[in-house]
Symmetry: C2
Subunit: 217 residues, 2 copies
């Protein structure tokens, strides 16, 4: 006997209600009062995560990943998932929140294993970056990782994920040389949107590829 | 008689208080109830901007800009400003919210004129991107713009800004070939943080420059 497959349907929003700040569990709204450069009193409204691990001092990691195969072109694995804030499927690099006691590198390896299923090697860690500094205090690090596949391991055949209950994450493998064009194509599909960080990385690659010689990059 | 210069001091946060959702003017907290892919009821907490222009359907634009000078290397202008959500100075590309009735292109030209002081030409507009899709519904477009400087115009001599009251924005010009390294250096300074979108664009450029040949980019 096998477990019957779970039914799959389009996610459907049933209600959107104002959330009192005191009732919010994951995020909060705060008002910052400050003196600006001229000494004038000003205020700013900010959304913050309530989950930042004190050990790392950083909310989240995203895994810029390179899949290396002996005979296939270098590729990267993206995740596509329904994101209620946008009522759309987003295309992103795998990412996740850093747990208490973890370093960014440890969180990257753990989250990559959970979302993608492969063991990866960390090859670089960025400085702390401000996720959306006009709106929120959220911050993150970009951790570059590599997965070295064996001759028999095909990039199209993905390993088993270790997802938490309620996570529905589709994985797609894209050759790095096609990344920018594929993101543009995803953006044209209905109910799909590419995350800004991934799009900017790919746009930077494309910019260097097409304008690098002219602009001395 | 001249107006006495405004005194300059380090911005100072005087209080941070919980902001009731009903009192917030710029952003809001909402609870989304939805049915997931298996039909299971779930909830998600989201921060949203209250200012999205219905005409564009997009919150904001960032201006990826190229300064072209007859004899100097291609460069880009960055803005450094105090961001209360992070209690730090952020390094970003110029950016701003789209006003009602404006297109993304119009907002880009207007904001670039206000923050930087130069007239720019739009050379490309990205698809809509999700600013921080796990946390907020905020979205944006990356508008690539060019400024063609004359032989006599030096990039180091910046034109007059047209800032709104309370805006204190420092501009720095960086050759495109040095952008990534300069962002890494800014990240190492005290009380400074680079915005994730700009950092990712520069990291993508650097990735293509250093790994492009090896990875077929």
């Amino acid at each position: 006997m096998t477990t019957p497959p779970k039914k799959t349907q389009e996610p459907l929003i049933t209600s959107i209600t104002d959330l009192p700040t005191a009732s919010a569990k994951w995020i909060t709204l705060q008002k910052i009062s400050y003196l600006d450069q001229t000494g004038a009193p000003r205020t700013w409204e900010v959304a913050s995560r309530k989950t930042r691990a004190r050990s790392a001092g950083v909310d989240a990691v995203a895994m810029g990943n390179v899949l290396l195969h002996p005979t296939r072109p270098a590729a990267t694995v993206l995740v596509i998932q329904y994101r209620p804030p946008l009522d759309a499927y987003t295309v992103e690099w795998p990412a996740g929140l850093i747990d208490e006691g973890e370093t960014a590198e440890e969180a990257a390896v753990r989250e990559f294993r959970e979302e993608i299923g492969w063991e990866c090697e960390v090859v670089g860690v960025s400085p702390v970056q401000a996720a959306d500094p006009g709106l929120s205090s959220a911050n993150m690090k970009l951790v570059m990782v590599e997965v070295r596949l064996g001759e028999g391991e095909e990039e199209g055949v993905l390993p088993v994920q270790r997802l938490e209950d309620g996570e529905h994450i589709q994985r797609v493998v894209v050759p790095l040389g096609e990344l920018y064009q594929r993101l543009v194509e995803y953006s044209q599909k209905e109910r799909m949107v590419v995350a800004a960080k991934l799009f900017h990385f790919a746009a930077g690659m494309e910019f260097a590829r097409t304008k690098g010689k002219e602009y001395g990059i």
